[in-house]
């Protein structure tokens, strides 16, 4: 069973969000352990650059494994404030540890996303 930490919020596209889902707050965004396992060994991550405006539910980057390609969706609307160079340089980190330090981008929230899921709701769609 893939780990789904209680304290995080989730998108239906398998991103996790750490931080306050509120205007003006900065949140960290990554992909869930479930998503990383489904992709297999991740060898490439493309993230939006710092300063880019992203829109909840829209594609803002991509993840590539030996087997497949998956898109990264923005879970909230806002502006990218940081990109995790450690993850960009060593994408395989996402397979060993999907949460915590393995955030991919940080976003300063402009519009909170009320449709984000709780851990319980997210675990229901990964069953």
């Amino acid at each position: 069973m893939a780990d789904i930490p209680d304290e995080l919020l989730y998108s239906e596209e398998h991103e996790w969000v750490a931080g306050e889902n509120a205007a003006g707050a900065e949140v960290s965004v990554g992909i869930t352990e479930y998503a990383a396992a489904a992709l297999g060994d991740i060898v490439y991550v493309e993230a939006p650059p710092v300063g880019e405006e992203v829109t909840a539910g829209e594609v803002c980057g991509e993840l590539e494994s030996t087997k497949a390609v998956s898109e990264l969706y923005a879970p909230v609307t806002g502006v990218v404030t940081a990109v995790n160079d450690d993850v960009i340089d060593t994408p395989e980190t996402l397979n060993s540890q999907a949460y915590g330090d393995s955030w991919i981008i940080k976003i300063k929230v402009k519009t909170p996303n009320k449709a984000l899921l709780s851990a319980e709701q997210y675990s229901a769609i990964t069953d």
């Binding site: 297999g40 060898v43 493309e46 590539e64 030996t66 087997k67 390609v69």
Partner: protein, 394 residues
């Protein structure tokens, strides 16, 4: 037992895959392991040590009888009667229009006995075609796919492990693409071929499905930490690096062996080595002449002419099956059939059908990778060739 339409076949090794924590996938109507731990770790294990594969989904069809050799000569594109007993040959079965029904390995196990190994998705079609083309009083066809398992050990350390499993120290003398009877774990009868689909030295064990568990366990016991169970994910990147075609990607009914760069398997006959008629002969003779003309004068090839090439990518973004190949002006000149980031080489590789004008090694093309062009260069196939220290080659 309850079955329903669409339920995939289970391998006789299914409980072992489950115990090893494999992620399973449906492939050609079978539920098979896609990976146990990591695609890349499994891929590297085969390149540097040894990997163990369950490929029980493959089809095994026996032809026996005084007329079997002659019948296969008429059914397949190669001269099967020329195969020595104990040897194997990579070949194809084609339609009368030259399209590929399947690519095959044929083992000659006795003077009047042949084993035809077909892809899982094509096994029943190949079996039916062989019945239609070969069956008679002097040639009996026995589709043993359902009661036969195939277990492959691949990698530079495979020889030491199979010698330990079998106690047969003569296996080192077995030539590449040769096969012999052996015994695994003291009493399990197996046909072992020095064949595989990874680009490494390796062995494939054909055993009764009921014995598959014992062979699998014997391999893991003999290999210990030096043998990694490997799934279809690693198998696909290994065969891609080795430039080996996969039916449904590089091969299909709409392609001839010549378009796929595999015209060498077609024996049309020469004055010195004449050959009788076989299914697809006329169309394949035409395809051979056409391929030669395209190569000699690529500019004159029709706009929809296509030949198979290897592509190496410059960026991190890999070309995948179905992506369009473009020239420098954005005009479509081909299509990718397989592609992935190469674990061994560290950059994306792909196979693609392109117009003959773009087939020369060193030619630059652009692949439309999800709406953004990525520069790729035509390179020679295979992308990876094992060093001589990794065992014998063809």
């Amino acid at each position: 037992m309850r079955t329903r339409v669409g339920t995939p076949h289970a391998s006789p090794l299914a409980s072992r895959h489950e115990a090893l924590g494999a992620t399973m996938t449906d492939f050609a109507g079978w539920s098979m392991p896609v990976r146990y731990t990591s695609d890349i770790a499994e891929h590297r294990a085969v390149r540097t040590a040894a990997g163990l594969f369950d490929v029980s989904h493959m089809g095994e069809i026996w032809l026996r009888g005084t007329g079997a050799a002659a019948a296969l000569d008429g059914a397949l594109v190669s001269r099967i009667s020329a195969i020595d007993v104990g040897r194997a040959k990579y070949t194809m079965i084609c339609e009368s229009d030259g399209g590929v029904i399947d690519d095959l390995i044929v083992y000659r196990t006795a003077d009047e006995e042949f084993l035809v190994v077909a892809n899982a998705g094509n096994a029943s079609v190949v079996s039916a075609e062989l019945v239609a083309r070969c069956a008679g009083d002097d040639c009996a066809i026995d589709d043993a796919s359902a009661r036969t398992s195939l277990i492959a050990l691949q990698g530079p350390d495979a020889l030491a492990i199979v010698e330990s499993m079998t106690g047969d120290t003569g296996l080192g003398e077995l030539a590449y693409y040769a096969a012999k009877e052996t015994t695994v774990d003291g009493s399990v009868a197996a046909l072992v071929g020095r064949t595989g689909y990874t680009g490494e030295d390796g062995f494939e064990f054909f055993v009764a499905a009921d014995d598959a568990g014992r062979v699998w366990d014997a391999a893991l016991a003999a290999g210990g930490d030096g043998l990694s169970p490997c799934g279809l994910g690693a198998r696909d990147t290994l065969r891609l690096e080795a430039g080996m075609p996969l039916y449904g990607h590089e091969l299909g009914r709409e392609r001839t062996p010549f378009a796929a760069g595999l015209g060498r398997v077609v024996h049309l006959g020469t004055e010195a080595k004449p050959r009788g008629d076989f299914v697809g002969r006329e169309a394949l003779a035409h395809a051979a002449a056409e391929a030669a003309a395209w190569e000699a004068l690529p500019e004159a090839a029709p706009i929809d002419a296509r030949v198979l090439v290897g592509l190496a990518g410059e960026s991190k973004r890999a070309a995948r099956a179905g992506y369009r190949v473009l020239d420098g002006f954005g005009a479509e000149v081909g299509e990718v059939t397989s592609g992935a980031p190469s674990p061994t080489l560290g950059h994306p590789v792909a196979m693609a059908y392109v117009h003959p004008r773009f087939a020369d090694v060193g030619t630059n093309v652009v692949v439309d990778v999800r709406g953004r062009g990525e520069r790729m260069r035509v390179v020679a196939l295979p992308f990876y060739q094992r060093p001589p220290s990794h065992g014998p080659r063809a």
